[in-house]
Symmetry: C2
């Protein structure tokens, strides 16, 4: 929109009046029938559910089935200055789907069609509600796969919106690297197409990357073109124990530096291994371990794993236990992905959530070890797992929400963790996003000029501040 057309209004911070909510809900019900839901249970399901942050339900939930639905919803909400909160599978970890000012949650899970697979071009076009597991099932017969794997069976719209990554990022990058183009409904109801299917382009500002990681604050993503990979001829996975976190991190650095194209390299600290053993009935040695996966030709995978084995041995690690059968490999990764749930085996009835810092890999061992010392000092119980090839790791403190003292120590722990990562030249979030939970760290990480620029972008694209207000950056 042109600058002179921008409404000169105060930033939106207050909940719309009850009359406005009633009016918008009525209009939506008229148009969408029983796809408009206002029951408390459904509204609460569509707010934050996975962390200790409070649940802030929207005023209403609409189940969108097409881009056109999204346009209508956004236009109506814009006309009444009603917040619009996109919703995929609800696996977000930082309160992205909360509705602190009320508004309409747009559930995109029914927009779940794979619209096209271009096998020769190694790309596909999907609606935002397609989950990564559904996409991979769809692609299997073409010998293709989509590599980004954040653990949860998240929707690809949500993964795009939060710039997700996960275990395969060390080799295949993050959503930033794997979205070729997208369509979005802008806050005024216009449909934007960011790019073509060309594999690269120098044509104008990178609107694709502006929307990847924008967390629903700039528009509703309604279509995504994703890069795909051929399923490798050979996959080998295994577990390698190390005498210390430092040795495991050093092995990771050497592996990456040697150009070994490892597909996954995941650290579990001794406590995480204990949890995984309890939960998934494995019998891994309870010391720091690396879970690894190699992709390539038969001989390539053999060479990669042998070279890794040598590196591990030099650092006092090993022996490397192979999971050669696909079912054993799947069992391993399932155990890794279920670490969130496995934690509860250590402290039944506890609450938990995942932290998410990322530091330059040279500082990783130091950062993880200082974090372990901090956990001990504060008398907490917290597992540590990391996508260590990228310098990214998560801790999951286990605590009792009724225990005020413990809660305070958890808060101190998180503050110190983020401070430590920032002091080491890292980021407050490697892959979960800012949402509500990380807003307070943004300026410390990026500086005032960057945060002000982010606010300028938000104000210029969404002058009414209807798109997921109260998230990422305050305007």
């Amino acid at each position: 929109m042109k600058a002179e057309m921008m409404p000169k209004t105060e930033p939106f911070r207050v909940r719309p009046a009850a009359a406005t909510v009633a009016k918008v809900t009525e209009e939506l019900a008229k148009r969408f029938g029983n796809r408009l839901v206002t029951s408390q249970a459904v509204r609460e399901q569509h707010a934050n559910t996975l962390t200790w942050q409070k649940n802030e339900p929207p005023d209403a939930v609409v189940f969108a089935e097409s881009s056109e639905d999204c346009v209508e919803i956004v236009r109506l909400c814009a006309a009444h200055r009603m917040p619009v909160i996109p919703f995929g599978t609800g696996t977000s970890l930082e309160g992205h789907v909360n509705a602190p000012y009320g508004g309409v949650s747009v559930d995109l899970s029914r927009m779940n069609k794979v619209l096209a697979v271009h096998a020769l071009d190694l790309d596909c076009v999907v609606e935002p509600g397609v989950t990564r597991e559904d996409l991979n099932t769809h692609l299997r017969n073409d010998g293709l796969f989509f590599p980004i794997d954040p653990g949860a069976n998240a929707s690809l719209g949500g993964m795009t919106a939060t710039r997700a990554s996960g275990t395969n990022a060390v080799r295949y990058g993050t959503m930033k690297d794997n979205v070729l183009s997208l369509k979005a409904v802008l806050p005024d109801g216009t449909i934007l197409t960011t790019s073509t299917r060309a594999k690269k382009s120098s044509s104008g500002y990178d609107l694709t990357r502006l929307f990847v990681g924008s967390e629903g604050t700039l528009g509703l993503i309604t279509e995504i073109t994703l890069r795909l990979q051929g399923i490798p001829e050979a996959i080998a996975a295994g577990v390698c124990p190390f005498p210390s976190v430092e040795a495991a991190c050093d092995a990771t650095i050497l592996t990456v530096q040697s150009g070994i194209p490892v597909a996954r390299i995941e650290l579990l600290d001794a406590l995480s291994v204990k949890a995984v053993n309890l939960h998934a009935k494995l019998e891994l040695p309870e010391t720091p371990v690396l879970f690894l996966e190699f992709h390539g030709s038969d001989s390539g995978v053999k060479e990669q794993s042998e070279r890794f084995g040598e590196i591990a041995e030099d650092l006092g690690g090993g022996p490397f236990a192979w999971a050669t059968k696909p079912e054993d490999r799947n069992r391993l990764w399932k155990a890794r992905h279920n670490i969130y749930w496995a934690g509860f085996a250590l402290k039944p009835g506890a609450t938990t959530f995942a932290t998410d810092v990322c530091v330059p890999i040279s500082r990783l061992a130091e950062c993880v070890e200082a974090t372990q010392r901090d956990i001990a000092e504060l008398g907490l119980l917290a597992t540590i797992v990391g996508h260590v090839g990228d310098g990214n790791f998560h801790t999951a403190p286990l605590f009792d929400v009724e225990n005020r003292d413990e809660m305070k120590r958890v808060e101190t722990f998180v503050e110190r963790l983020v401070e430590r990562a920032l002091a080491m030249g890292g980021t407050c979030t490697g892959e979960h996003g800012v949402g509500q939970g990380k807003m307070k760290y943004l300026e410390r990480e990026h500086g005032a000029a960057a945060v002000e620029l982010m606010a300028t972008l938000k104000r210029s694209i969404d002058p009414l501040n209807i798109m997921n207000p109260g998230k990422m950056v305050l305007v």
Copy 2:
């Protein structure tokens, strides 16, 4: 800057008054002494020199030596609403360094320090005037290299600003994928830092990618943090002839699809081979050829090249001629990079320029062959070379600028070429950028909503329109 602080002024489109130019020049001379140059020769050197587009010199050239210099220059220019045009090595191909409204060219070539190399993290921090060849010389002793190679010995600031790529992009990506963070002086003189050195982050809007490819229209890039690679244990390069462009393209598609991590895969059409033979005194078969390079371990490179050889043979290509010695390999790639100059061997005294479309790889053979037919139909002489692993190719028509009829045919050729690429789902520029030359295609490629959004971004970040005005997107 806050929305309410944005000056409510008409877009800047006219050349500053002579008195303003005199005033700013005087102030700059006072501050920068003989680093402020206004001679016609130097001003013309700092405008477009590499294409048929006209040379539009700035009013003055300042040689900046630090970020602080850049801040002072931008502040002074902002105060007088004087255009600021960043300049690196002047190898841009689309008129990016022209000064259609006059203004101050900021020559960044003296900001040529490598500020840090973090070998463990595989990254480095450079000033914008460091050229890619200088960086690689600097890195050699650490066993590291920076892979992006656009051919010209461009500055890394310019490469960042145009989202450059080149021959290695099929394996290592473009500048979009290889800039971790950057610093820029914003149009109001504020210094922005876009990100940390963490290898990945989900922290806020992707300001790094907003500036990569922004062509100097949003700010002056003064520092860049780049990802590096370890120098591979083994490198193998060679040339493989094919019976047709289609066969060469099909071999490329199969190579990429099979997951062979080819580092370079470059198509030269028969006419390009002829030019290269004449210019570089090679004796290649004058049919379509692929120049290839493989990076990896000794056995990995051997396996990759054998697998490629099988693919080529199946498609009637080969034999694959190896350049095993580094000097032979360098001679090959030098010949490839000098294709621009080699063209003149075919038509001495001619003028030339490089086109730059990129299409989904499935359409590449069809696109190149239709382009060849068009060249023949229009009675033109034009070589074709392509970064075919990405679907990107260049043609270089050779023409006489005095020959009006030929010029008209060249214009028709370029129009048709871009239309064809866009109709195939491609882009008007794979790697050269928009500058002045491609502005007219932006809306056809992206649609009105995207171009309007780009203009919104430009207006909100640079409300006075002082940063490289008249480029990329009109505001």
